[in-house]
Amino acid sequence: MSPNDLDNILTDREAPASMSEHQDVNYWRHANEFNGAVTIDDEKHREFDADDPENLDHAGRRNFMKVMGASMMLAGLTSCARQPEEKIVPYVKPPEHSVPGRFQYYASAVSLSGYAMGVVATSYEGRPTKIEGLKEHPASLGSTDATAQASILDLYSPDRQESISHAGNLATWNQLVADIARAVGEIDTVDGAGLTVLTETTTSPTVQGLMAQLQQQFPEMKWREHDPMGNNNARMGALQAFGRITATKIDFLKAKIILSLDANFLNEGPAHVRYARDFAVTRSAEANADAPDYVAREHFAHDEMSRLYVAECSPTLTGAAADHLMGLRYGHVEALARVVASRVGVANVTADPEKVAALDGAWIDALVDDLTHHKGHAVVVAGEAQPPVVHALAHAINGILGAVESGLVTYIDSPEADATDQQGSLRRLVDDLNNEQVKLLVILGGNPVYNAPGSIDMAAALNKVPLRLHLTPEYNETSELCHWVVPESHALEAWGDLRAYDGTHSIIQPLIRPLYSSRTASQILSLVLGEDATTTDYDLVRRRFSGLYGAESEAKWKKALSQGFVEGTTFAPVSVSYRGSIPAETAAVPTEGLELIFRMDPTIGDGRHASNGWLQELPKPLTNLTWDNALHIHPTTAMKYELEQEDVVILKVGEHEVRAPVMLMFGHPQGVATLHLGYGRQVAGYIAKDRGFNAYTLRDESSPWCINEGVTLKKTSSTYLLARTEEHNNIEKSLQTQAQKAEDRHLIRSGTLSHYKEEPDFAQRLGHHAPERENTLYNPDEKDYAGLSWGMTIDLNRCNGCSVCTIACQAENNIPIVGKAEVAKGREMHWIRVDRYYKGDMYNDTVESAHQPVPCMQCENAPCEPVCPVGGTMHSKEGLNDMIYNRCVGTRYCANNCPYKVRRFNFFHYQIREGQDAPQLKMMRNPNVTVRSRGVMEKCTYCVQRINRARIDAKVAAAKIGSDVTAIPDGTLVTACQAACPSQAIDFGNINDASSRVSLRKQNTRDYGLLADIGTRPRTTYLAKLSNPSPALAGADAEAHTAEH
C-alpha cells in the first residue's frame, strides 16, 4: 500500500452506488418487502468492525506519530506499515431486491412543523444516508427545505434519548406499560377525568384516530395543544373572518400582484417549499418568447413577471425578494391592512388616520392601484406573527379582489388533526395543572417547559401532576420534569402518516429498525388506550388506513408505499363567506421606545432543531450568523442606544430579563428589534446546550409575537463573540465597502424588467470582458472537451437565498461541522455558500439585498491547478476541476489563488472532533465520498460521485445492448444542491449537448460569468436578477435597481 493509505483520508469502505433516476417510481421499494431490515446490532457489527475506515481514522490518529516517523524515516519512499487486516461480513440471508453496493430509494415523508413534506429517502446497505424531495408530492415537487435535508442528521444525532427512563433511571417498556396501566386504571373510574394529552400541531390521521378513540373511551379526558410557532393567528383569523377555522391554500402560479403583510411565505409555513417554487415560476420572465430556455407559463405572458409588495417589521428573505419593501413597526401592519382593505372596497373597515399618516402614501397608492387592476390575479398574504384581525382583513381583501373565484386562493378544512385555538388550549392546560385537575399528563413531543411563554411558569405547573410521561427525541427541559421519558422514533425508523398543507395523506415508512428503544406517538396513545402493549406502529397506521379507505385500502396501501402518499386525498375546497365585521382598531401603536419582535429562528426553527449541528452552523440568511441568536437592530437605532456590534445588553420585560448580544442589521426597521426564538437551551446535548439566550422567557402569552411597551434595554460592559461567516472587524464599515465593491465589480448583475426588455443583454455588457480565448501564449485549441462536458447555471432571479443548497451539499458530501470557535476564525467548510450583498443606501429603513450561491466554478483556466506542487487538483476530460484528497499535501496555495475562495481546508481533523466523533454518525456518511482527513484541501466537484455513477450505469447499460451511445438523459443526473433547490435556480448538465437545459440557460442573454474578466473561464455561470417595480414608484427604486449603469 502506498504511504498515503496510512494517514487517515478514508471513506466508508464500500463501492460506488447509484443515484440515477431516483424519480422513477419503480426504483422505490416497499419497506415491508424490506423485512430483512438490519437491526442496530448488525449495523454496529458491520459498521464498527475493522472494515470501517473511521476506526482506522482513530487508528490513524493513534498511530499518527508512528506513521509520520515511518514516512519521514524512509524519506517517503515507502511506508513501513502494512494495511491493517479488514473483515468482510456478508449477510446470512440477503434482503430481497437489494444489490450490495447499490443505493435503494424509498418514498416517504418527514414532518415540517407537523405537516407532511414528501421525500425520497436513500438507503445504503440498510442505512439511510440521504433525503431528497419527492417529485410528485404537492408540498415538495422534488425539492426540500434545509430542515428536511438536515433531518437525516437527527436520526444519527448523538444527542438522542436512547432508552426509556423513569425518574432518570433506565427502565423497560414493560415497567412503563405496567405503570401507565395502573394510572389509567385509576382515572378510568371517572371517565378519564384527569387524563390530559399534550401534543404539538400534528396532521397525523393515525394520531387523530387514536385521539378520537381516547375521547370516546374517556369522555372526560383533555386534548391540549401547544406549538410555540404554529399558525394559531391564521386559524383565529379564519374564525374571525368566516366564523369557522379553515386553511388557506394559495396558488401563486396565478398571482401577479402579491402583498405580504409581514408574511415570510417563501421560508416559513407548511407550504413554503411549494410556494417558493411557484413564486419563482412567476418571476422567470424572458425578454422574448423565443429565448432558448423560455418555458411557457399558464397565466403569464413570456415577458410578464409578478410584482411583490412586502410590508414587514423584521427583515426576511421574502422581504429581500420584494419589488417594493416597506419596513414598519408591528402595529402599523394592521393599519396598512386596514387602509388597503378600505381602499379596495372592503365594507366598514376604518383605519386610524394617525397611524396611516406614518405610512408611505405613494407606496400604498401604487399598491392599491396594482391590486385593483389585477382582480383575480392579486393576493394578500398575512403573516403568522400578525394578529387574527390582519388575517381576517387579508381574507376580506382577497374576497373583494376575486382571488377566491379565480382559484388563486382556496379555502380547505384544516389538515390538522385538531385545528383549535392553541393559545386558549395552553391557557386551559395551565389552569388545569395549577388546579391539580390533571392526574396523568402524556406529553407527545415538544418541550413546553422551555418554549412556553415566560408569562407562564410551566415547570411549577407540571410538578403538580402525579404522573407525567414525555415522548421526546432528545432529553430536554421538559423530560427533566417528567417521570417517564420515552425516546421518540425518527421518521426514518418508524411507521407513521401525515397530511400535507393541502390535505394530501402521506405515509411515513421506515428504512431501518429503530436504533434505540424508541416509540411513536401512536404507540403511546394505544398504550394509554390499554391496547396490547406489543401493538406496533405499523399495525396502528394500517388500522387507521383501512379505517379511512375501507375496502380498497389494501390496493391503496401498496400504491401509497411506492408513491409516498395516497393519490387524490387533496382536500376539496370549502365555500366560506366573509362575515364582514372587523372590530374597530385596537390601541394606538407607541412610536417611541424599543419594540421587540419575536421570530422563529431561520435555521433551527422554534428550537426543535437546536441539536442539529448542520442547521446550527448554517449561516442565517441576511446576517450570516451561526450558532447563536442575537438582538437584531438597525445601526441607527443602535447608535441611539450607544450600542455596537457584539455588545451585551440586558433586555427586561416585566420581571423577566435576558442578556443578549447586539447584532447590527441593515434594512431592519428603525426602533424595532428582532429576537430569534429557539436558543438558550439548558438541558440538551453538546450541540444545543448553552447556545445563545432563551427569548421565550420574554414572550407574553397574550401577544406572543411582539412587545411594544415596557421594554427596558440596559447596556453592559461585556461583549459576546458572534460567529459570522464574513469578516468581523467593524461590521458597518466593512458591509458598506463590500456593497460598494460588489457594485463596482458587477458581481451581482440586476436590472428592472422594463430595462431588460429594452436591453436584453444588459448583464453581458456590464463590467470588463473576459480575454479572448486566442489571447494566450499557448495554442488555444489544445484543450477540447469532446463528449461529456459539465456545466452549471445559477439563476439569481429565482434564488431567494434560503441556503438549502448548502445543507444538501453538506449531507451529500460528508462535510463536517467545525463549531462556533472555528467559524469565528473563518474556517467553516461549506462547499457552496450563499453570498449576500446589500445595495443602495444602506441606512434606509429598508435596504435591497441580493443573494448569490457560490460553489466551485470549475474554471477552464483554473488558477488553483498550476500552483499545486503535487498535482493534487487538475482538470478532467469532462471539464471538471478534480480534487484528489489523497494526493493533497496541504500547501493551501490553491485556496489562496482561487479568486472565488470556494476551497476549504481541514485545519483540524474535524470529522472526529468533539460533537463529530459519535460512532453512529459514520452510518450516515455517503459511502461514495471520501471522508477527508486533517490537512487536506476540499471543494465542490459538481457531485462527481453522482456523475461517475451515472456514467458507469449508462455505459454498462449501453454495453449490455451492444450500443455505442452512452447517453445520460438530461435531467436524470442532478447535483445535490440542484435537487434540493425549491425555486429551481440551479441547472446542471452536459454543455456539449446543445439541447440540454443547462446549455439553453447559458444561451440566455442574462447569462454572465462571475469575475470572468480575469480570464478564469468559469463553467458555473449566473443569470442576472430581475425586479419588477411599479412604474408609479419607478423613480427612486428604478435608480437603485439599475444602479449598475
Binding site: D12, P90, P100
Partner: protein
C-alpha cells in the same frame, strides 16, 4: 612536522567518499524493493479464513461460474462475498457433516454471519467499480490471477496505482472478448503483435474512452 594520518588513511578517505554514494543508492534501492515486496503488498500470501474455501475445488474442479456466488459483479460496484444462504444451496446436501464446513452450518443455524478476511483491499479513497470493468471486457483473472488454481485465496496483484495505470493507459494490452470475461482459462494470443491488434479492436468495439481513463476523478473522489 609529524604525519597526522597513517598511509592507509588515503585509501580510506577515497573509499569512504565512493562508499557514501553507494550506501545512499543501496538504501533507496532496498527500501523500494521491500516496499514492492509481498511483505507489504501481501501478494501471493494466502489468508487464513474461517472456512478454508477453495476456489481450486469450486471453480477449477466443479467449474462453478464466478457469478453463481459473486452475483452483484455485473450490476454493482462491489462483487459481493456470497451470503451463507448461497453456500447452503449445495452444502445443505453435500458435506453436511463435514468438520471443515462447521462454521457455515453454524452460521446458517444461528443466523450469525461468517467473518471472512479481506484479501483484495483497495485504499479507501480508491473507488473501483466491478460492473464497468466486467462490461468492458476486463476478465476476472486479469486482476484476480488464476483463481481456479488457488486452494486458499491470495492476492495476485499489488494493487499499486502504477499497476492500475498499466491498463488504464493501455487497455488494449489487457482487454478480452466480453464472452470470455468469466472464462478463467482464457489465454491471450501468444504472439505479442497479434495480441495488441486484438486488444485495439476490442477497445474500438467496446468504445473505451481511453484518454478519460487517466482522469483523477475516475477513481478518486
Amino acid at each position: 612536522m609529524a604525519q597526522v594520518f597513517h598511509r592507509s588513511a588515503n585509501v580510506l578517505a577515497r573509499a569512504s567518499i565512493v562508499g557514501g554514494g553507494l550506501v545512499a543508492i543501496a538504501i533507496v534501492t532496498i527500501a523500494s524493493v521491500i516496499y514492492r515486496s509481498p511483505v507489504l503488498t501481501q501478494v501471493n500470501i494466502a489468508k487464513a479464513q474461517p472456512v478454508p474455501f477453495s476456489h481450486q475445488r469450486h471453480v477449477g474442479g466443479n467449474g462453478i461460474d464466478c457469478r453463481y456466488c459473486h452475483t452483484s459483479v455485473e450490476k454493482s460496484g462491489v462483487a459481493n462475498v456470497p451470503p451463507t444462504e448461497t453456500c447452503m444451496t449445495c452444502h445443505s446436501q453435500i458435506l453436511t457433516d463435514s468438520e471443515m464446513l462447521q462454521p457455515v452450518h453454524e452460521s446458517w443455524k444461528t443466523g450469525k454471519p461468517l467473518e471472512w478476511t479481506r484479501v483484495y483491499d483497495l485504499p479507501d479513497f480508491v473507488y473501483f467499480d466491478h460492473s464497468i470493468h466486467v462490461a468492458k471486457g476486463v476478465g476476472c483473472t486479469t486482476c484476480h490471477g488464476e483463481i481456479q488454481k488457488m486452494p486458499l485465496t491470495w492476492k495476485a496483484k499489488t494493487l499499486h496505482m502504477a499497476w492500475c495505470l498499466e491498463c488504464h493507459r493501455a487497455p488494449q494490452k489487457f482487454l478480452r472478448p466480453k464472452d470470455k470475461v468469466f472464462d478463467v482459462d482464457w489465454k491471450p494470443a501468444a504472439d505479442k503483435s497479434e495480441r495488441l491488434e486484438a486488444g485495439l479492436k476490442l477497445v474500438e468495439e467496446y468504445n473505451v474512452n481511453v484518454e478519460q481513463l487517466t482522469n483523477c476523478s475516475i477513481c478518486h473522489r
